[in-house]
Symmetry: C2
Subunit: 403 residues, 2 copies
């Protein structure tokens, strides 16, 4: 459903949103590293945040904005996470919002802030302030690509999408930019996703939709099992589409919900697929479970197993490592009832290898996108987790990414 | 306490034990791959086994032997795990015990069997039978080195130790061989450890000692977070030392317990240190926890984080990744109360970096053995986990180890 021609428009596709990305000098590489997204018309805002107890300063500040329910802007930087920075970090995060608000002529309590990068280093505030002013000065309806590039770290590409749907007889637009790459795991990670929409919707209803959707999208990806201090997914809805305000769970809400879920699913898949050093995109479907929680736990156990991940990197159809990870997931299972499939081909059934056709399996393993099915045969619940393989490049990126 | 000169004697150091390792042709490399350990005098036997629900056939068979309480021999092979092999696998495991028993003139119900290697392939029984006969024919008091080499897979060296202690006025000897390397994580892994002793001790008391000790030794190591289908730790005590039988928790028991714990600690540390592709040996001490379980959970979270492991591989003093893993461990913690030290030097305290001396920290990171201390400041319980780093070599070993 994503219109490729609109993906570049990203967060500026919905009416009334502008964006910019500038080089503030925070990244050592000298690349784009500071983004501002702005809507002149006040937007309802919803957000979900990292559950890591060591949360970064911008997470605390942005949570306050979401609690207020209204926002005009997001200021995000890469190159410095502003995490484990104590009181100075909180002061800097608040100042980031204040400087942005002053440049835009709005209230600081309506400016979200986000950071990603090295932990334990304070923000270079002189560079931040100059960067914010430059970004605000260059805000435009074509600024989403630069904004997207300004928030990435070890991502190989900026994730973006844009889509339009009819709600209440009006065309309603959605757009998003996201970054992921390292530290991606359940309950989110250094995963930033900013979604804009010109839909007119009640803030509480939108928050409830986002919270539900994040559970089955962003919380279902795993790259390396680490959970970052800085994650956030934020939606701003400015109502510019002019649809009758969505205030209850009616047909309009269902359309809004389905579109937001599609966007979150797509962004989550892109993030998993572009995991640090990834050469494979793995979709792990666990079915026949007694509960969603059981199915998710089994799928995550497979997704997080370094032995499984390195086997897929080596294109080795090593189903033994998959069934092994199912066996230690901590969920009751019966080996003889369990079926494992790679690319739809059974590789394990009845407690033993399924003697799959070698050429067919080899062809599955050579693909970039591989589906692993695990059928537990114990119930009717299921879950899908998206992940990637483990490569030399992962070790290189993370062994050489210095503090 | 381990006497280096005796380590080579390993499982044959205690009186009455013989061992052998032969080339049965199971490993593709043509290296030693089948071991037999034997005591003519019947031994009391204790064991702990994998908790993976997909347990290999030899695990089921050996559990039955331990339930019987008595053993004469262990037959172990590398190159084939005999896991996920269904009824044929059970038949083969039983036949392995039967063929060994026949060659030794003992009962098959007193022969433990163990396997390690590829999952999903049945044992080549012709090679196994010939190998068992050859091994039994070459049993000797100098056979421990060959037996140790016959059970390793991707280990870079065979783990062995031997020690003597006075119990009840008699010299009592202990010896061990072990293999580890991949799939090492809590609750054991493709981790085989065979311990022999000529101590005279009640079987139930020995089982209770072993179960306790495994919790704080072998279950406290983590290499890649995977748990194998084939783990086992087995102790055989044949009573040849002639000490008064230990039947209660007296001073003799305490000595036996302390020695067994030292052996298990040493073997567990060796296995963690020789993790697949490891270049660093990491000791993670978590203190100030409300319970041992909390402390272990936090230590395991740090030990299992690929981002922490790759940082240590890169000799990067990236304490941010450590405190991040502490924050998502699932145990309540207070960032401002937590202290992290590398090699005894504080690197994180009061919620921020501790401005440690760069040269001093660099010198710590360059060592092979590195101690990470995490002080939670919330209670008085502690736990220690042993682990290793994540290197290119880990990916190479596991991406290229084909089924």
């Amino acid at each position: 459903m994503f219109r490729e021609e609109n993906a570049k428009k990203g967060v500026t596709f919905p009416k009334g949103f502008k964006a910019a990305g500038v080089k503030a000098g925070i990244k050592k590489s000298g690349n784009l590293d500071l983004a501002v997204i702005y809507t002149e018309k006040e937007a309802a805002v919803a957000g979900t945040f990292t559950q890591n107890q060591v949360a970064a300063a911008p997470v605390y500040v942005s949570k306050e904005v979401v609690a207020g329910g209204k926002a005009h802007a997001i200021t995000a930087n890469a190159g410095c996470a502003n995490a484990c920075t104590g009181e100075q970090g909180m002061k800097d995060a608040r100042e980031t919002a204040a400087v942005t608000a002053e440049a835009l002529g709005c209230d600081a309590s309506e400016v979200l802030v986000a950071s990603t990068g090295v932990i334990g280093v304070t923000l270079p505030m002189d560079k931040m302030k100059a960067g914010i002013k430059a970004a605000v000065a260059s805000l435009s309806e074509t600024g989403s690509v630069d904004a997207g590039n300004a928030i990435i770290t070890t991502d190989t590409y900026s994730k973006a999408c844009a889509t339009e749907v009819e709600i209440g007889g009006k065309p309603v637009r959605f757009g998003a930019i996201a970054k992921g790459s390292g530290m991606i795991q359940p309950n989110m990670a250094t995963m930033l996703c900013f979604i804009t929409t010109d839909a007119n919707i009640d803030q509480k209803l939108m928050q409830s939709a986002l919270s539900e959707i994040v559970e089955v999208t962003f919380n279902m990806i795993s790259i390396d099992g680490d959970m970052s201090t800085n994650d956030m997914v934020v939606v701003m809805a400015n109502g510019e589409a002019g649809n009758a305000k969505i205030t209850e769970k009616n047909a309009d809400y269902e359309k809004f919900y389905a579109t937001l879920k599609d966007i979150c699913t797509g962004m989550a898949q892109h993030i998993a697929s572009d995991g640090e050093g990834a050469t494979k995109f793995l979709t792990i479907n666990v079915s026949g479970a007694k509960s969603f929680a059981d199915a998710k736990q089994v799928a995550m156990s497979v997704a997080k197993s370094p032995l499984v991940k390195t086997a897929f990197f080596g294109e080795d159809p090593n189903w033994g490592r998959v069934i092994c990870a199912v066996g230690y997931a901590g969920v009751p299972m019966v080996p003889e009832k369990t079926v494992v499939k790679f690319g739809g081909i059974p590789v394990y059934a009845n407690g033993v290898g399924a003697n799959a056709d070698e050429a067919a399996i080899r062809s599955v393993m050579e693909q970039h996108d591989i589906v692993i099915d695990v059928e537990l045969g114990l119930g009717s619940e299921s879950a899908t987790v998206w992940s990637c393989d483990f490569s030399y490049e992962y070790v290189k990126i993370n062994g050489e990414y210095h503090t």
